[in-house]
Amino acid sequence: MNWATRRGVHIDRAACAWLIRRFVDPDARFCFVADPADVPADATAFDMRGVDLGHHGGDCSFETILRRRDLADPVLWRLAEIVHEADLDDERYDAPEARGLDVVLRGLSMVCDDERVLELTGPIFDGLYEYHHRAMLLGREPA
């Protein structure tokens, strides 16, 4: 399937792309557009104004995708808290990792194009997922 989002990928879009590829559509192909009008007809848009998979009721797009696709995995919801705080910084959740992750993503977007940002952030989100997965099983921070 084809997916489209805004150019200049930051935390929410990078996390959404990872989520889509890992949990929604393994064959996902992404394109990046400057204007909502440029979204190809066969593509599902996310994290853009006026689309279903965007910000809703105070949720960031990552949270919206989890809701729309009925993804109830608690580890994903823990990641959602981090992405939410990194993106919106509204202190709805306690996610101290968010600030650092946001800085890493902002820095990456200064030196890489969008495709490269997705390539590099894939393993970062895999790692975050694994870390929080183990933390949940152990009931404390894993080594």
Binding site: G8, H10, R49, G50, G54, H55, H56
Partner: protein
């Protein structure tokens, strides 16, 4: 970045919200305040344009549309440098007041406060400083003063502190 004080690009949100219910009005206004917008006129606010500020105002515009309001986003350049300086000054003044509050709070702590109280206030003020910093586009000198005042709280806490053990106790106690 260069161009922060030369005539730059601004992103404007032009909006109108229904008078009732009042909750969305308040929510939107809180979000705008948190972003540090400068008000140009009734229902029109501005921020220096960058990818982040533009995106944040765009999401707020969507939220306004969703509750039945009207909202549009514009990219603009002030026609004169003076006009822009005036906006920058207003924003810097607003932030300066916020920094001054932090400085006053940090200095109000009396000498006989316990290290724990000192630490708690330092943490709270540091978080507050970060919030102000994020909406500070034209840092006034008051920022350095506030940062120094909060740092002083932490430093007073560091040498020979009687607060020792706060972070180590829990691990030691575990079997």
């Amino acid at each position: 970045m260069t161009g922060r004080v030369a005539v730059g690009h601004w992103v404007l949100l032009c909006y109108r919200l229904p008078r009732e219910p009042s909750t969305p009005r308040i929510t939107v206004w809180r979000k705008l305040k948190r972003l540090g917008v400068v008000q140009l006129s009734d229902g029109m606010v501005a921020l220096p344009a960058d990818a982040r500020t533009r995106e944040q105002l765009e999401w707020i515009a969507d939220e306004i549309l969703q509750v039945g309001g009207e909202a549009s986003i514009w990219l603009a350049e002030p026609a004169t440098a003076g006009q822009e300086r005036d906006l920058a000054r207003r924003m810097a003044t607003a932030r300066a007041e916020e920094y001054a509050t932090i400085t006053a709070e940090a200095r109000a702590l009396t000498g006989d406060a316990s290290p724990r109280e000192r630490r708690r206030l330092a943490d709270k003020l540091r978080a507050e400083l970060r919030r102000i910093d994020r909406r500070d586009y034209f840092p006034p000198p008051d920022r350095d003063v506030a940062q120094a005042a909060v740092r002083a709280l932490h430093e007073a806490d560091a040498p020979g502190s009687t607060d020792a053990g706060d972070s180590t106790v829990d691990e030691e106690a575990l079997p």
